[in-house]
């Protein structure tokens, strides 16, 4: 096989080849790849049209939600005493109509979105943050395995709804309760997931070499490991947002959510639900905004997971 190849190469006529010009600046080039993980991830991520649209949509929504209290003076809590103001259909003055006591649904939707966003954001930061820290420690000290797997089995063997329900039942209904309920049931799965990743990274040759050179553990964790799991952190945070918002809606459905006086998307959807058959718009608008948010974050999270996988980088 090999001798045949060599023979055929020598048979080729010389005029097929031209001598390349010698260029000084290209001498070092062969040994250097300009592959950058983050650039490739972001390029792959934004290649798809769906991603461009959803990211734009989320940016617009978030900006508008947080700017709303400054650009409009509509009051989401203002109750009207005259029945003429109750259950109004959408109009110029009330773009989403008014509810059963004359409160402006347009304002309520944006205030509610803000509360729900903040809730989801806090949950995402805490859950993923605790997950990363615990996962890092767990991945590093194998002695913790028995204890941590015990906790993992206890928490994950119980359906998360039951868990949410019992915590929300025991504590007073408030935003803090929901945050505690969600974070305390979610952190362990995150920790396990990061533990597996970190364990794999720890066994990587360059980290074994670092350990042999007596690099302190905290330095290996912060320099060699955490940067590698950054993309996983972003993806997980994006995916917890729809589930947190969903859990809030669920809890307010079974009557253990945030008190009804506060505007959140969950409360709005459930208040609208009771009036749906007569005034469908009272539920449709909050629901539409809520679905746009959850679907967008779900898509962004999943697409980012694909994009952050180096095997998908071209």
């Amino acid at each position: 096989m090999e001798s045949h190849d060599v023979a055929s190469y020598q048979d080729l006529p010389d005029d097929l080849f031209t001598r390349a010009e010698f260029r000084e600046e290209l001498v070092e080039d062969t040994g250097f790849s300009n592959y950058s993980y983050w650039q490739s991830t972001i390029r792959t991520f934004f290649k798809s049209t769906v991603v461009k649209v959803t990211v734009a949509l989320v940016l617009v929504l978030v900006t508008f939600t947080f700017a709303f209290p400054y650009i409009s003076n509509a009051d989401p809590y203002k109750v009207s005493l005259s029945s003429k103001e109750w259950n109004l259909p959408p109009s110029r003055e009330h773009p989403f109509g008014t509810d059963g006591v004359g409160r402006d649904i347009w304002a309520r939707v944006w205030y509610g979105t803000r509360t729900s966003f903040l809730l989801a954001l806090v949950v995402a930061v805490l859950e993923v943050g605790i997950g990363v820290i615990v996962g890092a420690v767990w991945g590093y000290y194998r002695k913790l395995d028995t204890l941590m797997f015990g906790i993992y089995n206890t928490i994950t063997n119980i359906p998360s709804t039951i868990y949410l329900v019992i915590i929300a039942y025991i504590m007073k209904p408030s935003i803090v309760t929901i945050i505690i309920a969600l974070v305390s049931s979610g952190w362990i799965s995150e920790a396990r997931w990061f533990r597996n990743k970190i364990l794999a990274l720890r066994e990587a040759d360059y980290n074994v070499a670092s350990t042999c050179l007596k690099t302190p553990v905290n330095r290996i964790v912060s320099r060699n490991i955490v940067p590698h799991i950054m993309s996983l952190i972003i993806m997980d945070a994006a995916l917890t947002i729809p589930s947190s918002i969903g859990s809030e809606v669920f809890l307010s459905f079974i009557g253990l959510g945030i008190p009804a006086e506060m505007v959140t998307l969950g409360n709005l959807v459930n208040q609208g639900r009771s009036a749906f058959l007569v005034y469908p718009f009272q539920m449709i608008f909050p629901t539409a905004i809520l679905c746009v948010i959850t679907v967008s974050f779900y898509i962004i999270g999943n697409k980012f997971a694909d994009a952050s996988d180096p095997r998908n980088h071209v």
Binding site: N153, T154, I162, G255, F276, C291, V295
Partner: protein, 313 residues
Amino acid sequence: MRRYYLSKLCQALVTISLVVLVVFALLRFMPTTGYFSKEEYREMDEVARNAYLRSLGVLDPTLVQLKNFLAKLFRGDLGRSMTLYPKSRIQDILRDKIKYSVMFNAFSWVVSAVIGMPLGIAMAKNKGGFVDSAGTAYVVAVRSIPSIIIHFFVQVYLSKWLGLPMLFKMNQPASWILPTISLSLGSIAGYAIWLRRYIVDEENKDYIKFARVKGFSQNYIMVRHVFRNAIVPIAINFPSDLLMLISGSLVIEGLYSIPGMGGILIKSIQAMDNNLVQILVLLFSTLSVFGVFLGDIFVSFVDPRIKLQDKED
């Protein structure tokens, strides 16, 4: 093999005892009003209330209460409901409820397996095509939109379009259709996306290529190699699915007013019926732990790798 079963059994027992301990301790923080029916609370004064609570044993130290609770449990006495069904025995209440939840979950289980698995296979075969995109859109919608919203719209619009009743009635089988559809939506998505991803990943594995080189037909490879491996995680969940038939769905039973086990948990929470909540939460948790245990046992028959691994040890 015996070591595998033993370790799984220990794990399950430890988990169950931990759960019982934690739930029991947490529920001691609940306000004691949950031990009175409304009339009783109004009629009694502070002294009488305290005496009553003491007679129930609620004011004892937590560990003593736990001992009494467990002793009663082993005698088959689940205690009595306090506010929701004043003074009736919990086992009698649950006996009525279980059949509804079992019935609906069994229906939906069949429906989701029958629809979900073929959908997943079709999506994998049609990768990038219309079936695949439509299926993916369905999965994304079901997974990201809060389930209550989906169930609510299914109830309102499907009942209008198909002319089906909106609320459940036992003697009217047409009213069983919508709850079954609602219950199946999530697990159809689960089966479909799992099978699709698995088949697509597995297509490029060496052993599949080798089987193809050997000249086996696509169907043979699918059934004997890919599907057999893909079914393992589904098999793990099989027993817990069966046991969880009892627990019912909190949301769907609420929406369709099905008098099942999920609905009663919500109602007992709203009525702050401590005893009932405690029993239900413990029951659901124990069932799911036990289900996971049975799944581990069951999968050892389906997945030959576990046997091999155990021999190596």
